[in-house]
């Protein structure tokens, strides 16, 4: 039975119960050390000796210290001493069972995968993929994994996708947004080609390690860095469209995760305007940019912007397209969007069903 059929069977088996699909759950290891033990000895020793060199001022800490430990809800720390997101039982209690999650897509972050060392990046991504299956999916069939790829090394990324492509426990390929180059650039195209050939969407989750967080330099505070993640998402959307990725891979589905959503119509309009003026620079982009966005790009909701007038969201959702929006919780992080309270605007039953359930069923690889 396919993953999709299993999900639908679960739903049908509990009439009257509401189910949701969550496009953003963060699994964590019991501790950073416990994950490191999964690496080959060569890389374990490397990390113990040299740390995890990224692109920031500290040996073992982000340049923007988080406001809350592990950026997590205070109540998400398991009693066994592990990290938030590491304990399946607590995850079930706080999120999966509580909110009727029929499918939760795992989005593993970091653990060394944001390093500048390409070989280390490859080793960590391989370990992340095995670990998701062994520690989560094997014990909790409602959770599905992402193929995390060493995105700055396309041949290695392609090999990693190929390794897992036939395993239906993986429902998407995952990249992270703070990259060396915008994702429309040619060096990333082999990743899209491989993903498309297996019917896998590509999720771009915010985060990573890069240079200056803004085109005007380095911000000082987490309060600012948090916003720059929106910008990195916008940069990739712009790049994918204008470098012609969707023109070349019309079947490619991209999911933008945790980068916000309300800015999309404004950016699409801006791109259409500029394309009408400057289209001669990008002749490979044959349609107005907004058309590619509508056809190929999906947006996860968390962190949901909160207009003063909540009903303003309805126009924004309509402009984005009701079929292009996927609910995300971001469990167990501090800015978690509880599915019961995330949407302040009054959604119709049908609109809510699309966002919370139906759209995801057709975006992820669930056959």
């Amino acid at each position: 039975m396919s993953v999709r059929e299993t999900i639908l069977q679960t739903v049908e088996g509990s009439p009257g119960r509401e189910f949701i699909i969550d496009s953003d759950i963060h699994p964590e290891p019991y501790s950073p050390q416990s994950f490191r033990e999964r690496l080959p000895a060569r890389w374990r020793e490397h990390c113990e000796t040299y740390g995890d060199p990224q692109r920031g001022p500290y040996a073992a800490l982000t340049g923007y210290p988080r406001y809350i430990p592990r950026t997590s809800r205070r109540d998400a720390w398991p009693s066994n001493g592990g990290l938030p997101g590491s304990d399946l039982e607590l995850m079930r209690e706080q999120h999966l069972d509580r909110h009727g999650v029929a499918l939760g897509v795992l989005e593993p972050l970091g653990q060394g995968s944001w390093t500048r060392n390409l070989e280390l990046m490859g080793a960590v991504c391989s370990a992340l993929n095995e670990w998701q299956l062994e520690d989560f999916v094997a014990h909790e069939p409602r959770l599905k994994a992402s193929i995390v790829v060493p995105m700055e090394d396309a041949p290695a990324a392609v090999a990693e996708i190929r390794k897992h492509a036939d395993n239906r426990d993986f429902v998407q390929v995952q990249m992270n947004s703070l990259s060396e180059e915008p994702f429309g650039r040619r060096k990333y195209w082999p990743i899209y080609e491989e993903a498309v050939s297996h019917g896998l969407p590509v999720g771009i989750h915010v985060g990573g390690s890069t240079g200056a967080r803004t085109g005007g330099g380095w911000p000082s505070y987490y309060n600012e860095e948090h916003y720059s993640l929106v910008n990195s998402t916008q940069a990739h959307l712009t790049s994918l469209v204008l470098e012609g990725v969707f023109e070349h891979f019309p079947a490619l589905k991209v999911i933008l995760i945790e980068g916000g959503i309300a800015w999309t119509p404004a950016l699409s309009t801006r791109l259409d305007r500029l394309w009408s003026r400057l289209g001669s620079e990008v002749p490979h982009c044959r349609k107005p940019p907004s058309e590619y966005v509508k056809a190929n790009v999906f947006f996860s909701t968390q962190p949901m912007e909160e207009p003063e007038n909540p009903e303003d969201l309805l126009q924004i959702f309509a402009d984005i397209g009701w079929n292009n929006i996927l609910y995300a919780s971001d469990y167990p992080h501090w800015d978690y969007d509880d599915p019961e309270y995330a949407f302040k605007a009054p959604l119709s039953v049908e609109q809510k069903r699309k966002i919370m359930f139906d759209n995801a069923l057709s975006v992820y690889r669930l056959d």
Partner: protein, 366 residues
């Protein structure tokens, strides 16, 4: 929000409302034009080394956006013809006053000395070649942000001339603009009651996105709102906004429609982490409404009455918009920079009341 009705009940002269264009771009034809305002050393430098072509990378002179096709003049830099600028901006568009924002190489030079020389020369050139010759023109003071001490000196020098009505900075520099490094500029601005205009344009010191360099000019220009959000976040986060309560910041050529989602997201984040930046006392959306204004062009909103009303409501009200044509940049066609669906009450506000409320020098000197 300041009350304007007292300051200027009927706007300008002739019993009609004074109409103000808050962003037009005279073009420096060649560096030769600035040489009368430099010392011998710099004249020799530019001449002997044949340094010219100092238009900034944000506006390649031949790019379609840099000059509307019907305003192009063979062999001339966009906006270099003073009569054309006055004809189009003042006579055709029906403005009484236009504020010049000369965007030129001094703003981006890697040498801070060269930056200072070019900015000073640009200000002298604008005063003598433009403001002296058309009494309807005003200007921003362009300053070398590469060296804020020199920038403050230039502000002091120009502030004596009341035709300089604000200070202009580009939206991407060596550091984010909230940093104390730049505070001498704000000290001078506050002292003279001059708004700070943050204008589109980059020194190109960093990749134009947090995820590296895109391939195209189009993408760089599309990413401009990102730079504005970065500056707004930084002006708040470093405490600069709180430290200089007298300064209004004008976002020029930024576009407008990105503002509401930015305000919502920044306010939500601030609610969660405001303990990190306790000097931000109010939600960023409130700071934006109180301390920032935004110019009209490029108007990146669907030209629809209800959509425009909604947007203006979302960004904080009818006091937020400042009319601009952005001449000679190609942002619209035809003879009216005001979008056809713009509600009438907003037109009066943005063309007259809103500019007069922040450009105090326009109230005083006419």
């Amino acid at each position: 929000m300041p009350e304007l009705s007292e300051a200027r009940p009927d706007g300008g002269s002739n019993g009609t409302a004074l109409k103000i264009d808050c962003d037009v771009h005279p073009g420096v034809p060649t560096v030769e034009a600035l040489m009368p305002y430099m010392d011998d050393y710099w004249v020799d430098e530019f001449r002997n080394r044949q340094i010219d072509g100092l238009e900034i990378a944000t506006y390649p002179p031949n790019a379609p956006l840099s000059c509307r096709p019907d305003w192009r003049r063979d062999g001339e830099r966009p906006g270099a013809d003073r009569d054309q600028l006055s004809d189009v901006v003042l006579d055709t568009f029906g403005s009484d006053i236009a504020i010049c924002n000369p965007v030129y190489g001094g703003l981006v030079a890697l040498s801070e000395q060269m930056a200072a020389v070019l900015c000073r020369a640009t200000n002298c050139w604008i005063a003598e070649q433009w403001l002296d010759r058309d009494p309807r023109l005003r200007s921003s003071i362009v300053v070398p942000a590469q060296n804020p001490i020199l920038a403050a000196e230039e502000i002091e020098r120009c502030a004596a001339d009341a035709r300089f009505v604000q200070i202009m900075l580009l939206v991407a520099n060596e550091l984010l603009l909230g940093r104390q490094y730049y505070w001498p500029i704000y000290e001078a601005a506050q002292k003279h009651g001059l708004p700070i205009c943050i204008h589109a344009g980059s020194m190109y010191r960093y990749p134009t996105t947090p995820s590296g360099w895109p391939s195209h000019y189009l993408q760089d220009y599309a990413a401009t709102p990102q730079l504005f959000t970065a500056q707004m976040q930084n002006l708040m986060s470093e405490g600069a906004l709180a430290r200089f309560p007298g300064i209004t910041f004008v976002l020029a050529e930024s576009g407008i429609s990105w503002l509401p989602p930015y305000m919502w997201r920044a306010s939500r984040t601030w609610k969660g982490v405001r303990g990190e930046v306790p000097w931000i006392k109010r939600a960023p959306s409130a700071e934006v409404r109180d301390r920032f204004r935004v110019t009209l062009q490029p108007f990146d909103v669907t030209d629809d009455h209800d959509r425009i009303e909604k947007l203006v409501e979302q960004i904080g009200g009818e006091h937020m918009l400042l009319f601009s044509s952005d001449f000679p940049h190609w942002q619209f066609d035809g003879d009216d920079p005001v979008p056809s669906a713009m509600p009438e009450h907003l037109v009066r506000k943005m063309r007259t009341d809103n500019p007069l409320s922040i450009y105090t020098r326009l109230r005083e000197d006419k």
